[in-house]
């Protein structure tokens, strides 16, 4: 169309401006900060790779990485796993489909902070819901947020929060599988568990990959659950809270930025690895 060139520029400009000012520029500035020792924003000194050397020998960061990876493992196994199982089940029933779809999505719309507060009430040693139940059954109370339990106690709401999201993605993918595939399977006498493993899962493999990538990058961003439930204490420090502490609480912008860059690199590496492992022939229909 005539004059399109002008509109291309005008229409793309606001997005380009926003992304440049609040994403690209800050990202490269973070990279830049990671080579400086800072005191506030005004006093900084170039120190080369010092921050990165500190990164390698930082034991707290190592622990935070391990904790994040542990939560990631739970998320991949339980969150994605439960979502997939629930989706297969909903795909196989006839009644109440809509009900389950809406209800399973409930936690997704609730903020992580609100869910964390809810779980604070569950886990409280003296008066929490869980210990109430245990006491009612005549059992010993459990210290849910102790050094040994705390990370798992935080993983539970983290997993629960987003099962519904991946569930909806899976159900949507399954609803796109043409009916004839299932008819053919029926004629061949394939049903139940076998149908799921041999037919449904291979057909939605590309969606499973998307979900796994989302789950990995999502877990690296975990912040609110840890911050509200345990304030990152008792062996629950994760990368998100560690970065926040370094950059914002200690106001160490240089090292905080280095941690952030490390998080980005780690995320990309793990996502690439996962995609490599899951690589197989894409099925199109």
């Amino acid at each position: 169309m005539k004059g399109d060139r002008k509109y291309i520029w005008i229409f793309l400009f606001p997005m380009a401006a926003f992304l440049t000012l609040f994403l690209y520029y800050p990202f490269f500035k973070s990279l830049y900060f990671s080579f400086y020792r800072t005191k506030g924003f005004f006093d900084k000194k170039f120190i080369g790779w010092d921050n990165y050397e500190r990164l390698v020998s930082d034991k707290l960061l190592g622990a935070a990485t391990l904790h994040t990876l542990e939560i990631m493992l739970y998320v991949l196994i339980f969150q994605v796993g439960i979502a997939l199982v629930l989706a297969v089940m909903v795909d196989n029933i006839t009644k109440l489909k809509g009900f389950f779809r809406s209800v399973f999505f409930f936690p997704v719309v609730i903020s992580g902070t609100a869910i964390s507060l809810l779980f604070v009430l569950f886990y409280n040693y003296n008066f929490g819901l869980l210990n109430n139940v245990l006491a009612g059954l005549g059992l010993e109370k459990v210290l849910w947020l102790s050094e040994t339990n705390a990370l798992k106690a935080i993983a539970v709401p983290t997993v629960w929060h987003y099962v519904g999201f991946y569930f909806v993605l899976f159900v949507t993918a399954m609803s796109k599988i043409p009916e004839d595939y299932y008819d053919a399977a029926k004629i061949e006498g394939i049903s139940g568990f076998k149908k799921m493993v041999k037919l449904t899962i291979p057909l939605i493999l590309s969606d499973i990959k998307v979900v796994i990538t989302l789950a990995i990058t999502g877990t690296l961003k975990v912040f609110d659950f840890v911050w509200v439930i345990s304030r990152a204490q008792n062996g629950t420090e994760v990368l998100g809270t560690y970065m926040y502490k370094k950059a914002m609480v200690d106001q160490n912008f240089g090292y905080g930025s280095t941690v952030a860059i490390y998080m980005v690199v780690l995320g990309v590496v793990i996502a690439l690895l996962a995609n490599r492992l899951l690589k197989s022939e894409e099925i199109t229909y």
Partner: protein, 282 residues
């Protein structure tokens, strides 16, 4: 007859089992919500000692505390303004960009798409320090813009990709007809493409609103003063300041969660429609 009947029986058993498992999971998503609402109508003492009993004679003390002492109403308004503003900007700018990227052919388009995909890999952590510096320098920290601007940028890529995916499926004839009617590109966007892409705009606005409303990390950093603090930041504050006032905590959670849940119930159909139609597969 025998094998057929057996398999039918097994089938029924399997179906029953599926309903049991599904209902069990549904319980985990419904009961905690019921529990928290129920407990918000009790005094703290009763939340602690009798958390399972029904609040048959509800007390509103927690609600008056929430509104009078910690001024939760103010945070509500703050949240609404900032998340609403973010959604508006994201829809407008993301919609425009999506329109260009899906309906125009020009050089460098693929390049722009690959940059957009790369953007998805940059978390808020990697931009927060310089953005904070920028907001301080422009004195936007602890103003509504201090949250709206970074969140708009943070959600634009997602919105653009989803809306562009939807718009690329719209028939070319529609565009040509509008052109015949003498529409220029701007009119074509507002009169044809925006209305036709309503499902995509709807699902994007829901997700952007949720992510913005629920984003604790940015709120703690950019807008943590009482007069601009959104509701998530207030919740975090409550958990550290009033961590022993169980009734108040239950009420705060209830007040945060319920409006969103009600809105969700009304528009859940849109979410699924938007997700089904090309939203997920990038």
């Amino acid at each position: 007859m025998q094998p057929a009947m057996q398999s039918k029986k097994r089938f029924r058993l399997g179906t029953a089992l599926m309903y049991i498992v599904l209902s069990a999971w549904a319980m985990t998503t419904i009961y905690p919500l019921f529990w928290i609402v129920n407990n918000s109508f009790k005094e703290s003492r009763d939340v602690m000692n009798k958390s399972f009993s029904l609040a048959l004679d509800p007390v509103f003390i927690n609600y008056t505390t929430a509104f009078d002492r910690i001024n939760i109403g103010r945070s509500y308004v703050n949240s609404l303004i900032m998340s609403g503003g973010t959604v508006l900007f994201v829809l407008l700018f993301g919609g425009l960009a999506a329109y260009v990227l899906s309906r125009f052919t020009f050089r460098g388009k693929r390049f722009i798409f690959s940059i957009l995909y790369a953007t998805l890999l940059v978390p808020a952590f990697a931009t927060v320090v310089p953005v904070y510096e920028l907001l301080i320098k422009t004195s936007l920290v602890n103003t509504y813009w201090g949250l709206i601007l970074p969140q708009t940028a943070g959600n634009l890529t997602f919105a653009t990709l989803v809306i562009a995916g939807y718009m690329s499926t719209i028939a070319k004839e529609l565009e040509e007809a509008a052109f015949m009617d003498g529409c220029n590109r701007w009119q074509m966007f507002t009169k044809v493409f925006m209305p036709v892409s309503r499902p995509a705009f709807a699902s994007v606005s829901i997700f952007v609103f949720l992510w913005s409303y629920n984003d604790l990390f940015s709120a703690l950093i950019f807008v943590n003063k009482e007069k601009v603090r959104p509701i998530v930041a207030l919740l975090s504050e409550i958990s550290s300041q009033y961590g022993t006032d169980f009734g108040l905590m239950a009420t705060a959670v209830t007040l945060t969660v319920m409006p969103i849940l009600f809105i969700y119930l009304f528009i859940s159909k849109f979410i699924e429609k938007g997700l089904t139609e090309g939203a997920v597969k990038g």
